[in-house]
């Protein structure tokens, strides 16, 4: 039990063990029930103060964390980079030290620089949760993807999961690769060569150049959002062409005679990386991912906040 505990921070899935990942997934299961209650609130983190520090725009992740925090009765403060002292040039560490001086307990941070969460975690005593750092990791997104796959297919080990789209710039892809491999899934990637990191096969993943091959192979497709900025930067010629070559369309699913589970971290570009018929189809678990995201974040908050790791087994009362 102690060996599986999470420690002070959640920075990425690369540094977590299989046991630790499974602990989060197993802990998330009972938290699903809390969100189904008429009174969606438990007193577990009463008196804890959590700061959501977002240096990049985010709607879904920030709201999901905020719901998770509030359903655990924590007090929360949201800080966005625009309109705060961050805009005046305050450094990350200065911001964090000022927050510490206000006696906070946890920080959830999204930051455009890879490694920012680790940098912060090493410098403040509060728990730090990485809400996405640059191209590096987005651990809670991968954990909720794992929970959703496990819930829908009954297992992760031995399942064929293909991550499709812009792998190069995707922290979601990176966290998913680590998590899936650790839990024994077969992992493949599919996307334009310009958006595929070179040498990625060394991690132990397959690479498909054609989406048709990926669809034939996969039990689950995790379709990433194509960030529209990528077109301006010249990684792809046009959105229409991306859809024509790499789009996950109903026609392609029909021709492959396969009905893989469809995941998407959102927000969806309908008609670009995925067609509406697929995104809204019977095998789509996209909205279940959103629901599971709250349970995963509640589990992470609970596990990081919980007790002193050195003390003895709890007594029976």
């Amino acid at each position: 039990m102690t060996s599986a505990a999470l420690g002070k921070d959640l920075l990425g899935l690369e540094e977590l063990s299989r046991d630790q990942i499974e602990l989060v997934l197993d802990t998330a299961e009972p938290f699903k029930e809390v969100s189904e209650r008429a009174i969606k609130k438990v007193p577990t983190l009463r008196g804890k103060t959590i700061v959501n520090l977002f240096y990049e725009p985010s709607t879904r992740t920030r709201i999901s964390f905020e719901f998770a925090e509030k359903r655990l009765s924590a007090d929360t403060v949201n800080i966005a980079s625009s309109g705060s002292s961050v805009e005046k040039g305050e450094t990350l560490v200065d911001t964090a030290r000022n927050l510490e001086a206000m006696r906070i307990d946890m920080v959830v941070m999204r930051h455009p620089s890879s490694g920012a969460a680790k940098f912060l975690a090493e410098r403040i005593p509060s728990n730090v949760i990485n809400g996405g750092d640059g191209w590096h990791e987005h651990p809670t997104q991968a954990l909720l993807d794992l929970l959703t796959i496990r819930g829908a297919l009954g297992k992760i080990s031995g399942v064929n999961v293909c991550i499709c789209g812009d792998i190069l710039h995707s922290r979601v892809a990176r966290s998913n690769i680590w998590g899936l491999l650790k839990l024994g899934a077969q992992v493949a990637l599919c996307g334009p060569p310009s958006l595929m990191p070179s040498g990625i096969e060394d991690l132990g993943v397959k690479v498909f150049r054609r989406i048709e091959e990926a669809i034939e192979w996969a039990d689950a497709l995790n379709v990433l959002r194509l960030q529209l900025e990528r077109m301006k930067a010249g990684f792809i010629p046009s959105l229409a062409e991306y859809n024509r070559i790499f789009g996950v369309t109903q026609g392609r699913l029909d021709r492959a005679k396969k009905d893989p589970l469809i995941l998407h971290p959102g927000p969806i570009n309908r008609g670009v990386e995925i067609d509406s018929r697929v995104a809204d189809g019977p095998n789509s678990v996209i909205l279940r991912q959103v629901t599971n995201g709250i349970a995963i974040r509640m589990a992470v908050l609970y596990l990081l906040a919980g007790g002193r790791p050195d003390s003895a087994e709890l007594s029976k009362s």
């Binding site: 505990a5 438990v42 003390s311």
Partner: protein
């Protein structure tokens, strides 16, 4: 499972079974019938004990709804213990408003678990009444809480532990006192 050293079996399977039969009858008497009764077992072994009590009530008075309650998220000592304890399943079958709710647990000791259970039940409605039914009352309360229905009273010291073993979880029905192993 071999009993640990310094342990003394105080109830066997037959005695547990007879205690549960009597307790099932007392639930019906206390509630004036079982039409409005909901049995809520506390994780872990209270859940199985509630199921057995439900089965016994069913044979004489008809089925009663069963639920399970994990009180971990309502503990008052989460910061003092660690690491974060495993959270079990909570399954409440219906809105509890105006119901006769019977909390079922294996051992009543400090009363803190029952305090947490009552706090949690409040989030599922406003029961007409909450009663407490335990297989073993070992004394040692730290809160003003008492049971309405008790299988057996056991006198033990504060350093002793009372283990309730049940078939569904432990492979055997037994209640044993383990001397000098408590907190």
């Amino acid at each position: 499972m071999n009993p640990p050293e310094n342990s003394l079996d105080i109830l066997d399977a037959g005695e547990i079974s007879r205690a549960l039969e009597r307790m099932a009858g007392e639930i019906g008497a206390l509630a004036g019938g079982t039409d409005n009764v909901v049995l809520i077992g506390i994780q872990r072994r209270g859940v199985e004990l509630a199921e057995r009590l439900g089965g016994l009530i069913q044979t004489t008075r008809g089925p009663v709804p069963l639920g399970a309650l994990d009180i971990t998220l309502y503990r008052d000592d989460l910061q003092a213990i660690g690491p974060a304890p495993v959270v079990g399943e909570t399954r409440i079958p219906m809105d509890l408003t105006d119901r006769f709710v019977v909390i079922v647990d294996d051992v009543l000791y400090t009363g803190r678990t029952v305090r947490a259970a009552m706090d949690e039940l409040r989030d599922f409605g406003r029961p007409g009444r909450i009663a407490l039914c335990v297989l073993i009352d070992r004394g040692g309360r730290e809160l003003p809480i008492q049971a309405d229905i008790v299988g057996h009273f056991v006198e033990v010291g504060s350093r002793d532990r009372v283990d309730v073993l049940i078939q569904e979880v432990d492979g055997v029905d037994s209640v044993r006192v383990v001397r000098g192993s408590g907190r």
